[in-house]
Symmetry: C2
Subunit: 305 residues, 2 copies
């Protein structure tokens, strides 16, 4: 008796992670390797890792899904401007498929892949799940009835470049006061430089809690923007679950608590917001699960069926 | 041979409008009457208008849909807080159904009904259509694959109370700088009082065009908030079409041009926004069509099939 398998790969700036998912959506194998820059290497590493994770089941792999940052066109499989991996432009789906002897390959934006993976792992009954990726940048992934919402131009969930405060920071995108200028990992590192390789958010939260006024000032700004981001997804698509993910989510429960405090404080001033029970919708992305790779596999299955 | 008919009713603060829609989605009859306040009268008027518009086809009416402002629960048919119609609380669906001898009645929020009607009349191929209702308040209705997106708590599209500028106006909702405090009909009437019963927007646009500096100042504020509203729906759900509706849309093409200018000016500063071609997605709601009533009928059909 044969089963149907799918491989999911999450290509990040520092590592590539792959999973083998069976026909029931269960992760059977998980492997990772260090990422190497350059389009040719990324193609070769994806193909190598797909074979590695599939092992003896490789002939039964129906599809491979890849999640990767940058501008990703899931329809054509074309990927552009992946700065961290020195990719200008690559026909990723076609080339990896070729390297794997013709297995269908599907590519997704990494945030969308993570959104799908997190929704699959945390939840089975919701109509809409929003995944807020507080990574180097800020973007959301939207899952509606178990499938990704891409939008007309693939920009659904691109809330990082909505200007929320015309008096605040200039954004490299050309606008001013974009959400991303305050509540992304890069923004927090600028607002609260720790001078070390440590991520700034845990330090910022700890110092603010200990009573440091400078930390409290910066944290108030960051929490405010995070509250705006949460309101934006809630009041646009009104999801059952709002998953907090991305690099900053490694801070864990203290970050979720900080966001929860912010939305609850807002609710005390505004009965309409209070009625939305936003804090109860917040979840932390599973910290040690390969959600990006799992989501990439699911996206490939959705396309191939 | 019998056909299947649906009645759609749009209950507004000043008038009630009803349509008879045939099985092909074509409007066959349209009737309107002045609205009267009080729950009992609204129930009686809806029932009377439904029989009137259906005429001899009444026995073939499969369902009646009603769009109404206020807090509307489409699942239970319960409606609350319709200030303009002096309704505190009414089991609208149950009571109208009873008055019509048991025909199934479905109720929707008026903005959602208008969104569905406008999407049906303007478009057949889009995955997502957003309807921006610049009425007394500001809210959006979202149509995905021909069906309404309600969200987990019926708040999908409630973008009017997203704060976009902490330094701007206090909102009766308890927050500060909500979009609705700037780009709703009520807000424009406050910012640009004409002292007459005329709607302020056409006057504001005309005076600004003629070079009046005060009008130009106010218009810049209003256009800015409208640009924010448009960015918010574009970057959250990325719709193919953005329909501009509500009372302010009666201003017509000059309003659409003003919003188009704003988003194009933003695109010139931000290549990402430019790449979204937002101005090309804007449409004016059909000004003389009963979109609210048609949408209410369609919503009732979607529930009954």
């Amino acid at each position: 008796m044969t089963d149907s398998y799918t491989v999911g790969i999450d290509v990040g700036g520092t590592k590539i992670e792959a999973v083998l998912v069976d026909g029931m959506g269960v992760v059977r194998v998980c492997e990772r390797m260090a990422a190497r820059g350059g389009a040719d290497r990324v193609v070769a590493d994806c193909a190598r890792l797909a074979r590695m994770v599939a092992g003896p089941y490789f002939p039964e792999v129906q599809a491979v899904g890849i999640g990767i940052p940058g501008q990703v066109d899931p329809t054509t499989g074309h990927v552009a401007n992946v700065v961290n991996l020195a990719i200008v432009d690559v026909e990723l789906a076609r080339l990896v498929s070729q390297a794997l002897g013709g297995v269908p390959v599907h590519v997704e934006n990494d945030v969308n892949a993570a959104a799908l993976g997190a929704a699959h792992m945390l939840d089975r009954g919701s109509e809409t799940v929003a995944f807020l990726n507080f990574g180097t940048g800020l973007a959301a992934g939207l899952v509606y009835r178990g499938r990704l919402l891409h939008g007309a131009s693939g920009s659904a969930g691109e809330i990082g470049h909505i200007p929320v405060d015309p008096n605040r920071f200039e954004c490299p995108c050309g606008q001013r006061g974009c959400l991303e200028t305050v509540c992304s990992g890069a923004a927090v590192a600028t607002l609260w430089p720790t001078g070390k390789d440590d991520p700034p958010m845990p330090d910022l939260l700890a110092k603010a809690k200990a009573g440091d006024p400078a930390a409290q000032r910066v944290l108030a700004i960051v929490k405010h923007a995070m509250g705006d981001a949460v309101q934006m997804v809630t009041q646009s698509v009104d999801p059952e679950l709002i998953v907090v993910g991305g690099g900053m989510a490694k801070t864990g429960q203290p970050l979720l608590d900080a966001i929860g405090e912010e939305v609850q404080a807002r609710g005390r001033r505004c009965p309409f917001l209070e009625s939305l029970h936003i804090a109860g919708r917040l979840r932390l992305a599973p910290p040690d699960e390969p959600i990006g790779a799992v989501g990439a596999a699911l996206a490939a299955v959705h396309v191939s069926v």
